[in-house]
Amino acid sequence: MSKRITINPITRLEGHGKIEIFLDDAGDVERAFLQIPELRGFETFCLGRPAEEMARITPRICGVCPTAHHIASTKCLDDLWHVDPPPTAKKLRELVYSAFMCEDHFLHFYFLGGPDFVVGPTAPATERNILGVIAKVGLDIAGQVIAMRRKCRELIETMAGKVIHPVFGLPGGVSKGITEEQRLEFLKTAETAVEFAQFSLNLFNDVVLKNDDYVKLILDDAYAHRTNYMGLVDENNKVNFYDGHVRVVGPDGDEFARFAPRDYTDHFAEHVEPWSYVTFPYLKSKGWKGFVDGPDSGVVRAAPLARCNVADGMATPLAQAAYEKMYETLGGKPAHATLAFHWARLVEALYAAERMKELLEDPEITGTDIRTEPTRTPDEGIGIVEAPRGTLVHHYFTDDNGVLTKVNLIVATNFNAAPIAMSVEKAAKGMIKGGKVNDGLLNMVEMAFRAYDPCHACATHSLPGQMPLVARVYDSTGKTIKELRR
């Protein structure tokens, strides 16, 4: 009979997300998977509602990345009403979005994922939290992180009404422009963000890359998966968060597909497992081959490193230099090291900051033509953005009056659900042998899991900073024989 190990991370929503590990007769890991209740019935209760409400409803799926849902929804509404926003409106949206990406990536690096590296993966769990980071880098730097995030949030609040659950995106444009005075003020924020992102990359360099043990850990095969990757790219195949085409590369790095958001259903299908609440999107032409990596698998990863892997580079100079340095150390492109997601996140934060600056130096940003009124009959719309955690798809169908008849949302954590399960399984296989459960299991599983910055469980539970995990090992009769807790 198989043994069953359940790891319960603290969960958001209705409290039943968990990692489950099954052992075979020999006591080795047979399967491991992650269960998440992702939605609270959003697909149902959106039906029959006016489509324009989606830009207000969908941010409330997740308080951590509401801006991603708001912008994906707004773009979906453009498409639904067949309206092209004026250039100033697109730039204002991208400006808010860049500030959001910057703020969110810093939140993850310093408060969530960073403690594993900055404080050290082998440090006691009680020190691997934001307080441990402060002790290591000093109060002054912690203050800078706080000030930087605050400034980004002020920019978003001024432009979009609210940081959590913004309201400025409208079909065909935005509700409000910016004044010259605001532009100059935001430009200072952008300049500080560029400096701070560079500082953060230097910190990563000094603390992580100069430590051979850490580099070995990042490159360790236990944390690698040779999967397909996906992400938005601009017309020059550079990383873009707000707009562009979806590009997919195979595990060898060759382009597998490049398509407009409208065509995503030609390329992706969703697999359903009887044991999970989440759907598992996969590449249609490769098919669903199970929770495996390699050239034949249809599993695709979407995350900061995935975006870097699919692109030919970054569109801004400082980020491009950081990008090149990253791949030099990782041994070329594509990089398969899951723990390098943290590094890619910093490269992206630098790009987001530089992009903010570019947009604020663009004379069009203070333009007053900020909306094209929709006049055509709505039918079907698709909007795709790159959320901090990966590609986010909104897809709506309406009747002639713009009342929703069908809704499909694929969030980044859907794309990453299969890879997360694979990473957890790989980590578990390394730590459980012959029925013996190594006490380091939780740490390793947590590190593998957290690299994806999954949009559940951990984010707002960051204080006091460690993710509480409980693992229970059951014998074949269902009796608990071991319990690991932190």
Partner: protein, 249 residues
């Protein structure tokens, strides 16, 4: 005097209100210094201890959640509901417009019949237990949150605005959204947000719930002026006005 023991619990929601607390940053350190944070997590043993102040985020959507909130209530001297999900059921109440079996079927397909996916109509916290204070909004206003906590620590009764958003909107010198032909819910929605949405050139959609005694006569006069009916106003009370149920008391 010992520090008051404070616990935070979350139910069904987006956790944006807790992020509002995290985003207080410098202030949070002052707050943590003034109180003894005993719980900031779901799923820990809430039955094991008592607290002076329990802070509740999210709405009640499962039968077992009702037991859990009752258990928390019985151990808390003061209970504060934060954010629209907790104070009035929030967006989650939209689910109540549907049959629960249909909701499960739509989200999970055939697997929706599985027992652990049980779901019940959404309730605000005060539909199950007594709530002492409410911090309204979606998400809650963080300044209002610290104000309420500060009042409680000083033994004062917090004063929550009971006048419409229009009051704050006027003070911001915004042009009325009705002038743009939009049906703005400012006249009947509780203020305290600083009229953030109208200030971002977007109509109020009522995330703080109704004022206690909405002046419908005045609202009707405004609507008459713009040639609109009360029914049209009600049609906009959808996101946060949907199925607002009776309160506990």
């Amino acid at each position: 005097m010992s520090k008051p023991r404070v616990a935070i619990f979350d139910f069904a929601c987006c956790e944006g209100c807790q992020l509002q607390i995290v985003n207080l940053e410098e202030e949070i350190l002052d707050l943590i210094g003034a109180v003894d944070m005993v719980k900031w997590r779901e799923a820990m043993s809430e039955s094991s201890e008592d607290y002076d102040i329990a802070i509740i985020e999210g709405s009640i959507t499962r039968p077992e959640d009702e037991d859990r909130i009752r258990s928390i209530r019985s151990r808390a001297k003061v209970l504060i509901a934060i954010g629209a999900c907790a104070t009035m059921g929030g967006l989650n109440k939209l689910k109540n417009n549907f049959d629960m079996d249909d909701v499960r079927q739509c989200v999970y397909g055939d697997a929706g019949r599985m027992e652990h996916l049980d779901t019940a109509p959404t309730k605000a916290v005060d539909e199950v237990v007594k709530v002492d204070y409410k911090v309204h909004g979606c998400p809650m206003n963080p300044e209002e949150f610290t104000y309420v906590v500060r009042c409680l620590l000083m033994g004062k009764t917090p004063h929550i605005p009971d006048y419409p958003v229009c009051v704050e909107c006027k003070m911001k010198e915004n042009v009325c959204r009705w002038e743009y032909g939009e049906i703005c819910l400012g006249p009947i929605t509780r203020a305290g947000c600083g009229a953030k949405c109208p200030s971002a050139s977007f109509r109020c959609f009522g995330c703080r719930g109704y004022v206690d005694d909405p002046n419908m006569t005045a609202a009707k006069d405004v609507m008459d002026k713009y040639g609109l009916s009360v029914d049209m106003l009600k049609s906009k009370l959808v996101l946060f006005g949907s199925k607002q149920g009776p309160s506990y008391e």
